[in-house]
């Protein structure tokens, strides 16, 4: 396996409202930040993750290329998924051995529509979508199946928001107060906030990685697994796909200093912690995680970027970035990075 590392990470200061920027305007600063920090202006491969339904326009990701500069022509690809999967594609592309760098970015403006109902459109069109089953409702079904302790959920929200307040890129959200249910058993603060934002990661192989970063975050394991879509044939209290991906990525082959988990609902942290088999001393979501900022389609990539940052800055030796996709954690991607 070819050595590939995260060598740079950049993200926007995420907002809870539409700043009035179009997608290229949103992405451009983080791309430029990567270019400035790395000194690279061209990349062997470019791959992005986004969702046209967030903008309500087909092929909206094509116009985002204006922020990259695609002339002379570049080698480029896109996934209609969280950009963590774009990073996976870029990692695979780097394994070919003919290029040494790959730019990965993701972005989303969920302020523009009704995210809870846009997420209904990802459901199967025969059995689930026609019911109007929205994102918070199916998450609440999973929370109830788990039977999560309300105090444990509240503590996850409190910790995430406090960490988010200390993170200049995340939203400033208060400690959770008295609140009713959004969809019982989930309360509004159990649900990741509506967020606009973007992020970018630079991957580099071998010697280029050593040249670009003092402490490259070497990807020693990366894997993703998916399970059946229909909610009624899954054990929603567990994530078999996250556990399989963690095993394949080798999470249990060493200590985990920091884990950044793509948990958009507080109960998901309990499920993913168990699936990944994280030791109790692992620091989870020190950035605040998705409960403090959730720029949809960039959130998973940010998990990898935030985890990698702990190695890039020399403060951690072994970290995990987790990303998820689909209803009720249907698909999970686990990345292990080491100094």
């Amino acid at each position: 396996m070819r050595e590939v590392a995260v060598v740079a990470f950049a993200q926007t200061r995420h907002t809870d409202h539409d700043e009035g920027l179009n997608e290229p305007e949103l992405i451009s600063p983080v791309i430029n930040e990567i270019k400035e920090r790395s000194g690279l202006s061209r990349f062997g491969f470019t791959c992005s993750g986004s969702c046209d339904y967030l903008a309500g326009a087909p092929f909206s990701f094509v116009s985002a290329l204006d922020a990259i500069g695609a002339w002379p022509p570049i080698s480029e690809s896109h996934v209609e998924m969280d950009a963590a999967w774009a990073l996976y594609e870029a990692w695979v592309r780097l394994q070919h051995g003919d290029i040494d760098s790959a730019l990965v970015y993701g972005y989303g403006k969920s302020s523009q529509g009704d995210l809870r109902e846009i997420m209904t459109l990802q459901l199967d069109p025969y059995y689930l979508a026609p019911l109007g089953l929205d994102q918070v409702s199916y998450a609440a079904l999973q929370a109830n199946a788990l039977g999560a302790d309300p105090d444990a959920l509240r503590e996850i929200v409190r910790r995430s928001r406090a960490d988010g307040r200390a993170n200049p890129y995340a939203l400033d959200l208060p400690d959770p107060g008295e609140e009713g249910y959004e969809v019982r058993p989930l309360r509004p603060s159990d649900v990741a906030p509506i967020t606009d934002g973007a992020a970018a990661v630079l991957l580099a192989a071998g010697d280029l990685a050593r040249e670009l970063a003092e402490h490259p975050a070497w990807i020693t394991g990366i894997a993703h697994r998916i399970e059946p879509h229909y909610l009624g044939i899954r054990d929603l209290a567990r994530s078999a796909s996250a556990a399989d991906a963690a095993r394949a990525a080798g999470v249990d082959k060493g200590p985990v200093d920091v884990a950044e988990l793509h948990t958009q609902f507080s109960h998901e942290e309990l499920i993913i912690r168990e699936a990944l088999g994280l030791p109790p001393d692992t620091v989870v979501n020190p950035s605040g995680g998705p409960l403090a900022a959730n720029p949809v389609m960039a959130t998973g990539l940010i998990r990898i970027g935030e985890a990698a940052t702990r190695i890039l800055d020399g403060s951690a030796g072994r970290v995990v970035g987790h990303a998820s996709s689909g209803p009720c954690l249907q698909q999970n991607l686990v990345t292990v990075m080491e100094a």
């Binding site: 009035g20 409702s137 199916y138 969809v183 929603l236």
Partner: protein
């Protein structure tokens, strides 16, 4: 830069919706739904998938062509409560989403449950489909309008009508009440005075011959604060009290009035409040209630 943000409304829609082919497996399920039946499909491993899928999610093998009618009743496995339904939701009032394992199925169906309230929801709740009228069913998951809990309780109405007479002793007492006085009876053997008037002594069984008139004043011996409305009471909460009429040996139950409930106390001196003489009948309603006299309390 304009001072106000420029905002345009934008709709993404395929007018009339996409026409999707169902394939034979989902098509069979939807056809049966239109006919008011729910079917699952059997896998090679002898599991029944509801709703049916083309391939066994456990093995990837094609399912068999053995369709099995399931339900219509089923058991709630997990649920989530929606207090404020969205526009696209199947019900326009609070409802539950649920994973329902239909009888005979090995997997659960996601649908809505029209329950009277969140307290009605629990794992294990038995539910049945509420179908759309046959004329409106088109072969769609929403041909089942929703599920509803099975019947576990019912309301049974009890009502019978009677003509009753008060009996001689009470009739005699009510004659007094009509005239604004309390008639009591005294057992000469026990030397006890009873009000309302009675014709036999409850203690020794002797016939009571002696009538006497008592004043309409007395003392509260004990009381209760009632929080359920009663047509005879002035308001809620109201106080019903045992009142020892002056000169009597047993207390009489009566309403309290003209005093806040929390000020009523044992030993309080009270006096009957009568309706005006022209409104009086042979009835206890002649006494509105007892009200405090303002005299010092009595040591009981």
């Amino acid at each position: 830069m304009p001072s106000e943000p420029l905002v345009a409304q934008h709709v993404l829609e395929f007018p009339g919706g996409y026409t999707r082919t169902t394939g034979p497996v989902i098509g069979r399920f939807l056809t049966e739904l239109r006919d008011g039946r729910i079917v699952g499909v059997r896998t090679a491993d002898d599991r029944v998938l509801v709703p049916p899928l083309e391939y066994d999610p456990g093995t990837g093998e094609p399912v068999t062509d053995d369709y099995v009618e399931v339900g219509p009743a089923g058991t709630v496995q997990s649920w989530a409560w929606v207090e404020e339904p969205r526009k696209g939701h199947p019900l326009d009032r609070p409802f539950a989403w649920a994973l329902v394992k239909l009888d005979g199925a090995d997997t659960s169906l996601v649908h809505a449950v029209d329950a009277p309230g969140v307290k009605a929801m629990r794992p294990g709740l038995r539910v049945r489909p509420r179908w759309k009228p046959e004329s409106e069913r088109v072969g769609h998951i929403t041909d089942i309008a929703c599920f509803v809990p099975e019947v576990t309780t019912m309301v049974s109405v009890v009502r019978a009508e009677y003509s009753i007479q008060p009996g001689r002793s009470l009739a005699r007492f009510l004659e007094g009440v009509r005239d604004g006085i309390f008639i009591a009876g005294r057992c000469t053997r026990c030397d006890k005075v009873y009000v309302p008037f009675r014709t036999t002594c409850p203690q020794c069984g002797s016939v009571i011959g002696e009538e006497l008139e008592l004043p309409d004043t007395g003392t509260v011996t004990t009381f209760a604060i009632n929080n359920l409305p009663d047509p005879r009471a002035p308001e809620v909460p109201f106080v019903s009290a045992y009142i020892m009429i002056d000169g009597a040996d047993v207390p009489m139950i009566a309403l309290m009035g003209d005093v806040p409930a929390h000020e009523v106390r044992q030993g309080m001196r009270v006096k009957a409040v009568w309706v005006p003489p022209e409104e009086r009948t042979l009835s206890m309603t002649n006494i509105r209630w007892f009200a405090p006299t303002g005299e010092p309390d009595v040591e009981l």
